[in-house]
């Protein structure tokens, strides 16, 4: 059982990050796109904490709390836009929202 080093955590974070990017690029449903962004932010958090463990200080962990705060704000506003939009246009498929003003 090879000991767990930071490298392992980086690979996992990279995998999550790539999954998030695939989600954002390919999915049509806005909620799934927002969830993929959450996935990306989680990958970033994992990286921060892994490095904080590696360097032995807590800056990484404190900064990951700031990233969580940002994720919360982003989710709230993103979903607010989604609700406002859904009420007018009855659809939330990303590729159908193509008008700037209707």
């Amino acid at each position: 059982m090879v000991p767990i080093t930071t490298f392992h955590y980086l690979v996992v974070a990279a995998a999550l990050f790539v999954l998030g990017v695939i989600g954002v690029l390919t999915r049509r449903n806005v909620v799934i796109v927002l969830m993929s962004i959450e996935l990306i932010l989680n990958a970033v958090n994992l990286n921060l904490v892994a490095f904080s463990r590696m360097w032995g200080n807590l800056n990484g962990q404190v900064f990951s709390i700031f990233v969580t705060v940002d994720a919360a704000a982003e989710a709230a506003v993103g979903l607010g836009i989604l609700i406002a939009f859904f009420r007018n246009r009855e659809t939330i498929n990303v590729d159908e929202i193509d008008l700037l003003k209707w």
């Binding site: 000991p3 449903n29 927002l34 590696m54 700031f66 919360a72 989604l82 659809t91 590729d95």
Partner: protein, 183 residues
Amino acid sequence: MNPAINAGMAPVATPGFFYVLAGLAVASGVAVITRRNAVHAALALIVTLLSVAGLYLMLYAPFVFAVQLFVYAGGIMLLFLFVIMLVNIERSSKERRFNRMWPVALAASCALMVLFLSAFVKGRTLFPDRLMPLPESSNTQQIAGMLYGEAGRMGQYTFAFEIASLLLLVAILGAVIMTKKKI
């Protein structure tokens, strides 16, 4: 366990746990982006969040674990589930899931993965190979010290912390104004 690696810190859990949690995180991550039904995707995301929280514990970050549990899994995911149910998008879920140009996107992401891996392999020599010990006293006190400052002097992140609360205030106002039917 090679003590040099963990530099005298009591190991949180047997290494096997890492592979379990990492596998769970990646598997449910795949489920998030492939499930047709939004609520299934949300549940998969919750599983991802919880497994990543487990990973934080293995990285000696209990406070971040608690924040992840409290804010992410308990708060943001609830917001997602609320919106999915209120806006009950189920009717429109019968159409195509992926937009037309998904092969291009997939290729680009795989290229990105290859790039990451190559960066890690080459960069292995840059990082110190052994892990330095984290300060022994309770992790929460440490973080609180950095956020709020100890013994009178300002902490390193106190100013940033105030701005973060401002950011949250703006987000709250924005979300409320946007969703009100008749302002």
